[in-house]
């Protein structure tokens, strides 16, 4: 699951990123309203955490503009503006939930899980390819009924491959999605993590992660990539 955190306080954005990454989410942080609007409209995020006090474009304006292009993107508004009329305005402009500052990280995390549960059907939250199963919300991976422990990045990589099962995925797509990095910076990381995943996932037959020569990788039940 990929989350965009829009927070003008860099320190808070950084800590929220650490906390959410520890819970297996892929996280991008932006402290600029214009950039948030553009990212939220162009990148397939699963959820937007939106602080209202953003420079360049206010959070409420971001919310209104994002809603036009992404009517079903779950949006959780974070704000120290906690008057009833402000909450009502945000909800009327399309926010799905509102959390007042100072919030506890545990509550933020629980509200994210609740929103994702509400916005995704079981088909979308549990990915399955053959005997490999990944529960995106429960963050559990099993192959042939055996639970497999994955690190945060291994989980994010496998989730991305399974969401795109049967499709050829380039190394740069993986680098950008899982690490939010350019291919030049992350090309070695991608290959290293694919090797880690293969050791854990493909230690039984049939092999699911296939190398697509000159392109990248594909996860599929069929042997041919």
């Amino acid at each position: 699951m990929r989350i965009l955190v829009a927070e003008d306080d860099e320190a808070l954005g950084g800590f929220v990123r650490r906390g959410l990454e520890a819970e297996h989410y892929v996280v991008d942080v932006s402290c600029n309203g214009e950039q948030v609007r553009s990212l939220a409209q162009d990148v397939p995020y699963d959820l937007l955490l939106l602080d209202l006090s953003l420079p360049q474009l206010d959070g409420v304006a971001v919310l209104r503009q994002v809603r036009v292009r992404k009517p079903s993107l779950p949006v959780l508004v974070l704000s120290a503006r906690c008057r009833v009329e402000e909450r009502v305005q945000c909800l009327d402009f399309g926010a799905d939930d509102f959390l007042a500052k100072p919030f506890a990280f545990a509550e933020l995390s629980a509200r994210i899980r609740a929103l994702l549960r509400r916005c995704h059907t079981t088909n979308e939250t549990v990915l399955q390819v053959g005997d490999l199963k990944l529960d995106r919300l429960g963050r559990v991976v099993e192959r042939a009924g055996q639970r497999i422990d994955l690190t945060v990045k291994e989980f994010a990589l496998l989730e991305y491959l399974m969401k795109n099962a049967g499709r050829r995925i380039t190394r740069s797509m993986i680098a950008e999605h899982v690490w939010s990095l350019s291919f030049d910076t992350a090309s070695n990381l991608v290959d290293v993590y694919i090797a880690y995943l293969r050791r854990k996932i493909d230690c039984v037959e049939p092999q699911l992660i296939h190398t697509v020569r000159g392109v990248g990788y594909m996860l599929t039940m069929g042997g041919r990539a």
């Binding site: 306080d9 320190a11 808070l12 800590f15 929220v16 650490r18 906390g19 520890a22 120290a80 503006r81 906690c82 008057r83 007042a100 500052k101 100072p102 919030f103 506890a104 990280f105 545990a106 933020l108």
Partner: protein, 76 residues
Amino acid sequence: MKVIDHEDSGKLSAPGLVPAMLHEISQPLTTMRCSLEISLMDPKDQRLQRQSIEQALKDTERVIAMLEELRVILGA
């Protein structure tokens, strides 16, 4: 800016001051609370714990500075 009388003390404060202060004080408290909570999620990560403590100190200073401003405004 016109001010509002405080019934008991006779001191003065700007209209909207309390909501503005609440808003301002919420930010460092959120950062402090989240950073400390998140540092407890991985007790082995000493670097993260140090960052959280340093952040908590910075945020404490911000809150103290706001309280000082409030004292000056209220003449307390």
